[in-house]
Amino acid sequence: MTRSPLLQARGLQKTYGEGRTAVRAVREVTFAIAPGEIVLVMGPSGSGKSTLLSMLGGLLQPSAGNVLVGGEDLYDLPRRRLPGVRARTLGFVFQNFNLLGALTAEQNVLFPAGLIGRVGPPERERARALLDGLGLGARRRHLPRDLSGGEQQRVAVARALMNSPDVILADEPTGNLDSARGQEILMILHDLARDEGKAVLVVTHDPRAEEVADRILWLEDGSLRDRLAHDALWVRDPVCGMRVDAKRAVAETGGPDGRVVFCSRRCLERWAADPAAYAAEPAGPG
């Protein structure tokens, strides 16, 4: 039996500006995500990934097209209803966390529950369980400024899950994290799809995410395209062990055995500090 998609984009378009200065950030994007599916949206910088994600999350009015969440067209709703739908059915994990600085980790997680008028003992219990499950039980009374980047991202994930939304949207969820923390977040998203049947869409540059994805949508110049197989040259980051596309690596260096690429500058710095500690896999000529 075919499962009904939880999230659908139909002919989605976004154009900034008008006339000769108009920029078409997203062009005619159509796809669907079923329950339990984890889908990546990848593509070069400036390809329209974040714009697409914002439209899918009800955060940005499309120029044309529809976004259906659970069969309901987000942008066909009366405007006053959209915030409630966002709070109930969509969980958004922002790239830069966007935690509310005045609230503790636990209060941040509870915040969406307050928006739908439910902040009682069961919700507090759930918030604590979410934080415990993400290894933040001891940090729940801390303000965001007292948390590391990884901890803040996990709080953001817990917040996105607070109201048990059917759809999770994550914008570069590993972008600010080291390899270990990034992998941890990816596994959490993976488990949400597999174990809880959520529809998970992840916008990312991080090739490690491909290992947990069911499908990859390649966005280039605002349009979904097939990614050619020969387009990537996969090697291992010698520091963190993650797969890295040598053709698109953000950090690289020359080693005695040839070019070595890394998933991030952080890994490059670690390598530079002690190259002998890591076994490099040559990436071929740059």
């Binding site: 714009t51 914002s54 999350g57 955060l59 940005l60 009015q61 405007r79 006053r80 915030p83 409630g84 739908v85 966002r86 709070a87 109930r88 958004f92 922002f94 966007n98 509310l100 600085g101 005045a102 609230l103 209060q107 915040f111 969406p112 307050g114 928006l115 739908i116 303000l143 917040r159």
Partner: protein, 368 residues
């Protein structure tokens, strides 16, 4: 949301206090302008209020002292004194004019007093005697200080040279400082003859002032009579009317500037929080919740600012009196309390606009 709004203010204490300080300065401006207005409005009638008369009697048709002339025949003193309910009647000679003290000319009320007179003289003294003798004058202490004069110093009214023998307190206002001279000296200057200016009437215990005033007007020819409260209000109205344009302009400018400053401060505070409001909106906060959060913050900032302005004003008042004695400042509680309402209304309007804008803008646009 409201709890978050308050926590957010607390978390950003420095900015919140800066906002409250901005509001406080704006409201202080309005309070000081109003304070000068109220202080002068009270001080301008201080003499008629404190002269000791229950009923004032003057030339028929006259109802003021401010910038007025009144001529009453001295025979009327005995006629008024004979009426039922009257305990005591004394008269003053009065003219508007200039007194020269220490080389500076001051526009003043000149009041002529008899040596034995109980009513119509200064009611508080800084130094010297209350009743001037021939060739003597009592001037407000503010004039003496500003002119560098003191007891024994020289003064001049018209061509009459006088010696300062007393410095009175609370008799100075910007519009009508009061100086006191011997009645005979002023009579000579005015060529008053058998005329006097005002009769000051004290009533017997239990006498009804309005009935006595009506009786005076009915039984004494060519005079008008007003109970003290009516005379005070009539004089205040005349003084305010004569200075209304300037006062209204001062008040309007002060209030407008204060309103704009409050609005700008609150608006800026709301704009500073635009991004976190957009985060709340992205998480599912609707327009009413966002507007309520911003308005809560705006009203709290304004309330803190108002409180600060009131405290500063009350602390400033004695300092102002000491350093700028020529300006009388008064902060009636009703004015201080009354300012809170328009300030809150301005804060609500100034906060409402950016809040509504954020609530109606796509959150992703606000993040850009």
């Amino acid at each position: 949301m409201l709890s978050w709004a308050l926590r957010s203010l607390w978390a950003d204490r420095v900015a919140s206090l800066a906002g409250a300080a901005g509001v406080a300065m704006a409201l202080l401006l309005a309070i000081v302008v109003e304070g000068v207005f109220h202080g002068e409005a009270d001080q301008i009638v201080a003499y008629v209020d404190r002269a000791g008369a229950d009923v004032w009697v003057m030339q028929e048709g006259v109802s003021n002292m401010h910038m007025a002339s009144s001529f009453v025949h001295r025979a009327r003193i005995d006629e008024v004194a004979a009426l039922e309910g009257v305990q005591n009647v004394e008269d003053i000679l009065y003219v508007n004019g200039f007194v020269e003290v220490g080389g500076t000319e001051w526009f003043v009320y000149v009041v002529g007093l008899r040596p034995e007179q109980q009513l119509g003289g200064p009611w508080a003294m800084s130094e010297g005697v209350e009743r001037p003798g021939p060739g003597e004058v009592v001037v407000p202490d503010v004039i003496a200080r500003r002119s560098g004069a003191g007891l024994g110093g020289a003064a001049r009214i018209a061509e009459t040279a006088l010696r300062i023998v007393g410095l009175s307190r609370h008799t100075y206002s910007m519009a009508n400082p009061v100086v006191f001279v011997a009645r005979d000296d002023l009579a000579a200057v005015m060529s008053a003859g058998e005329s006097t200016s005002y009769l000051l009437v004290q009533l017997e215990d239990g006498a009804d002032a309005r009935k006595v005033a009506a009786r005076i007007e009915a039984e004494v020819d060519d005079v008008s009579a007003l109970v003290r409260e009516e005379f005070v209000e009539s004089d205040r109205a005349m003084a305010m009317h004569m200075g209304a344009d300037v006062i209204a302009l001062m008040s309007a400018v002060g209030s407008t500037v204060a309103a704009l400053l409050v609005a700008f401060t609150v608006y800026s505070a709301a704009l500073r929080r635009r991004r976190e409001l957009a985060v709340a909106a992205a998480l599912g906060a609707g327009e009413p919740a966002i507007v309520a959060a911003v308005l809560t913050q705006s009203v709290v900032i304004t309330a803190l600012g108002w409180l600060g302005a009131v405290v500063i004003a009350l602390v400033m008042r004695p300092l102002l009196a000491a350093t700028v004695p020529e300006v009388t400042v008064s902060f009636p509680p009703a004015t201080l309390l009354g300012l809170a309402l328009p300030a809150s209304a301005i804060a609500v309007l100034a906060g409402w606009w950016p809040a509504r804008h954020v609530a109606r803008t796509d959150p992703a646009e606000a993040f850009r």
